[in-house]
């Protein structure tokens, strides 16, 4: 099952970490060298992940490239890595966005660039770890691991209210993840009571027969931790603050990848471990998701800060993903995984673009802008493509994901699907309303007249993202085929257990 | 015959103890305390604990009280103003009440706990035979070696601390 090509997954995680170590040795003043090293390391990571993508066998349902090394054997936790159809796209998204984010931070980082790059690489290592870990404790370690660099990224290089924002971000996530840890331990202990072997290995725990009552509680704990991260509706207030205060690169990774850890967590852990509870919770979470979609879109309509607007749009987009996951059928889940990647690309690109305007005008207030299309035509073109992709224009990546989710959800919760479709309209409303005030109309400020258009570096960041957006929009099958086997396997497990809860069509 | 020694010594101890907390001039209190130490040293002798008795005299009377005298003399602490008892009456009453309660509890404890049998191996005649100090020395360097070493460290810390705190900046 696992291609014998050496611990390729461990190298994937270790590479950025080693890069960070290397950077530590470099003298802080030589910023050019630091930038080159960071970029090289993350590009190498991307190449490596392409190799994994190339050698990935789509017909196999289970985990591939599995590595297993006993870690803390006393409590049965071992260092287990593996990738399957569900985590592969997210892995690629992470390794793709990291170099882009690093490239974005070549300018606009006023001080301590070395520390910044180190945090970025550590963050990348942590994120890759989250998507590859198959042992609950290892997953938890990486899950918390990503918090620390993010804390520094926002805390040190953030905007004026960064301390408040970064504390809120960390406390929110910690509050949830503590419960998750509790649930993990409970699960492991329960597993030991039935099978006599204490283990935190996911594949082993999936089989554990857990009484429905308990399953609900454990699922609730996991769900809370992931819901905060997604973010689902009541727990979302940290996101806009975190984004507004985070530096551009931080925002790109925060929106691009960190949010997906929540939805990935649902798919990888919450659903397979507690299928019956998941089915029972599905209507509630779907309702929250739909409210999230409409609420996110509505609130972003009223925002006057670009980053805050994009942040709330993330709440709306991820509402779609959650809706897809909890529709629990092949189309919806594949759609949601694809939508995770799409959201990563389009929102990541949006943040890059907002970052570029911020670097030029040092403000994000929409009222300050106007008529930028005249002044920055190339920027306008890129912004148009990305905005349209985030609205879900057919032919671009956003539509494919959303359509699959809606088609899948329509099967199970017909009303929610229709409400979600209304979400698509609202999405267009706030995006175009922003577009009209920022890009069109007469330029309300004199400074808007002499803004220079995209530089080669900025183009180098955007073009690959836009190409990917078009590629996924027109040929999504390349990714979809990779997911089929794993998603059917996952849903098979879930449907098997939920059949006694309620008959699923 | 033991009672002949116990009663006066006990009376002496209690008397001087009372003086320690009642007298106004700190020097007299210190001397009263020295008196108590001697009374206790006598009691230790009664309990065939010669080593402890002598060490009591050396450490408490010889070293600690000298330190007290030094400090009292150096600081030239004035007398407590006469009506010190009557000034903060509520605190006084509360304190006495609590102490009464405390004594009551101790009495109950002592009362309910009478005359244990001999349990340990070191009966008094065995101790006389071997010699109290020899025994203590042997135990001190075998069974209680670690506490002994730790005490030495405590003393070192105390010396350094005292020197640092009292040094005039």
């Amino acid at each position: 099952m696992s291609q014998a090509a050496g611990p390729i997954l461990s190298t994937l995680i270790a590479l950025p970490l080693l890069g960070a170590m290397l950077l530590v040795l470099v003298d802080g003043a030589r910023e050019g060298l630091i930038k080159r090293i960071a970029l090289a390391v993350s590009c190498l990571g991307f190449l490596l992940s392409l190799i994994v993508y190339g050698r990935f066998d789509p017909t196999v349902a289970g985990m591939q490239f599995v590595e297993r090394v006993p870690w803390i054997s006393s409590i049965g936790s071992s260092y287990v890595l593996g990738v399957d159809g569900i985590s592969l796209p997210l892995l690629l998204l992470t390794t793709f966005l990291s170099p882009v984010a690093i490239l974005a931070s070549f300018s606009g980082i006023p001080r301590r660039l070395k520390g910044f790059m180190i945090c970025m690489l550590l963050l990348e290592g942590g994120m890759i770890g989250v998507f590859l870990a198959l042992d609950l404790l290892l997953f938890y370690v990486f899950w918390e691991g990503t918090l620390i660099p993010m804390y520094f990224l926002i805390g040190i290089w953030g905007g004026p209210r960064r301390i408040y924002a970064t504390l809120k971000f960390v406390l929110f996530t910690m509050a949830g993840s503590v419960l998750m840890l509790l649930a993990m331990i409970a699960l492991a202990v329960l597993h030991r009571s039935t099978t006599g072997r204490l283990s935190f290995d996911l594949l082993e725990l999936i089989g554990a027969a857990i009484p429905f009552g308990l399953q609900v509680w454990l699922f609730a704990a996991f769900a809370l931790a992931f819901a905060i991260k997604v973010p689902m509706l009541p727990f979302h207030t940290w996101l806009p603050d975190a984004h507004v205060e985070a530096p551009t690169a931080g925002s790109v990774l925060l929106a691009g990848v960190l949010l997906k850890m929540g939805t990935y967590g649902f798919l990888r852990f919450a659903l397979p471990l507690f299928p019956a509870a998941a089915a029972a919770f599905s209507p509630l979470i779907s309702v929250l998701a739909v409210i999230g979609i409409l609420y996110g879109a509505l609130v972003s309509l009223a925002q006057d800060d670009l980053k805050r607007l994009v942040a709330y749009s993330s709440v709306s987009h991820l509402g779609f993903v959650m809706l897809g996951i909890f529709a629990m059928n092949l189309q919806a889940v594949e759609g949601s995984i694809l939508q995770m990647v799409n959201h990563g690309l389009s929102t990541g690109a949006l943040f890059l673009l907002v970052g570029m305007i911020y670097e030029r005008r040092h403000t994000r207030i929409i009222g300050e802008f106007g008529g930028l299309s005249r002044v920055m035509p190339r920027f306008a073109l890129c912004f148009l493509v990305v905005a349209m992709s985030s609205i879900g224009l057919p032919g671009l990546n956003g539509f494919v994901g959303e359509f699959l989710i809606l088609a899948g959800t329509f099967r199970v919760h017909r009303g929610f699907a229709i409400l979600a479709t209304v979400g698509i309209v609202l999405a267009a409303v706030y995006m175009l309303w922003m577009w009209q005030r920022v890009m069109w109309g007469e330029s309300r400020r004199s400074q808007n007249l002499d803004l220079h258009d995209l530089r080669p570096r900025e183009i180098a960041m955007l073009v690959p993202t836009i190409l990917l957006i078009l590629w996924i929009g027109l040929f999504p099958n390349h990714l979809l085929r990779k997911m089929d086997a794993s998603v059917t396997h996952l849903l098979g497990g879930v449907r098997g257990a939920t059949s006694e809860v309620r008959g699923v069509k | 015959m033991e009672w002949l020694l116990f009663v006066p010594l006990a009376a002496l101890a209690l008397g001087t103890a009372a003086f320690v907390i009642l007298l106004r001039n700190p020097i007299y209190c210190a001397l009263a305390l020295v008196g108590t130490f001697f009374a206790l040293s006598g009691l230790y002798l009664l309990l065939q604990a010669e080593f402890v008795a002598v060490v009591q005299v050396i450490i408490y009377a010889g070293a600690i009280m000298v330190l007290f005298l030094f400090v009292i003399m150096l600081l030239d602490v004035g007398h407590e103003p006469p009506p010190w008892l009557r000034r903060d009456r509520p605190r006084l009453l509360l304190g006495l009440g609590l102490v009464a309660l405390l004594v009551l509890e101790l009495a109950v404890a002592i009362g309910s706990w009478i005359a244990p049998g001999i349990r340990g191996p070191y009966t008094s005649d065995y101790v006389n035979a071997v010699g109290n100090t020899q025994l203590i020395g042997r135990l001190l360097f075998t069974e209680f070696l670690i506490p002994f070493e730790i005490t030495s460290i405590i003393l070192l810390i105390a010396i350094v601390g005292a020197m640092v705190l009292a040094r005039r900046q």
């Binding site: - | 209690l14 002592i110 005359a115 349990r119």
Partner: protein, 114 residues
């Protein structure tokens, strides 16, 4: 004065029972506590504390004799060592306090007020 004369007077001739010692040390301890609570001069409070320590030492030695185990005396030895250390530090503190407060009256020393 107190305690010593209670009920056991009858056994004048026998050896002094353990309870006599315990009562004596309890009394001493009580006097110590009263001293600490009532007095306002830091030094006197310090002496009262020494008094309480000695009351405890007495109990230890009494038990050591009546229980036939040397441990009591050894612990007394350690208590004395620690008491010496404590007095050294305590007096150093009092000196430092006196130097900047011109008084050792406990009520004046409230720098640690919250």
């Amino acid at each position: 004065m107190r305690g010593a004369g209670c009920g056991v007077r009858g056994a004048m001739t026998g050896t002094v029972p353990l309870s006599a010692y315990l009562i004596l040390s309890a009394a001493l301890f009580a006097i110590g506590v009263i001293g600490v609570v009532i007095r306002r001069n830091a030094l006197i409070i310090f002496m009262a504390i020494e008094l309480m320590l000695n009351a405890v030492n007495l109990t230890f030695v009494a038990f050591s004799k009546f229980l036939g185990s040397m441990d009591g005396q050894i612990i007394v030895f350690f208590v004395m060592a620690v008491a010496a250390a404590e007095v050294a530090l305590g007096l150093a503190i009092i000196i430092a306090l006196y130097r900047n407060k011109e008084s050792v009256n406990v009520d004046d020393i409230n720098l640690l007020k919250g």
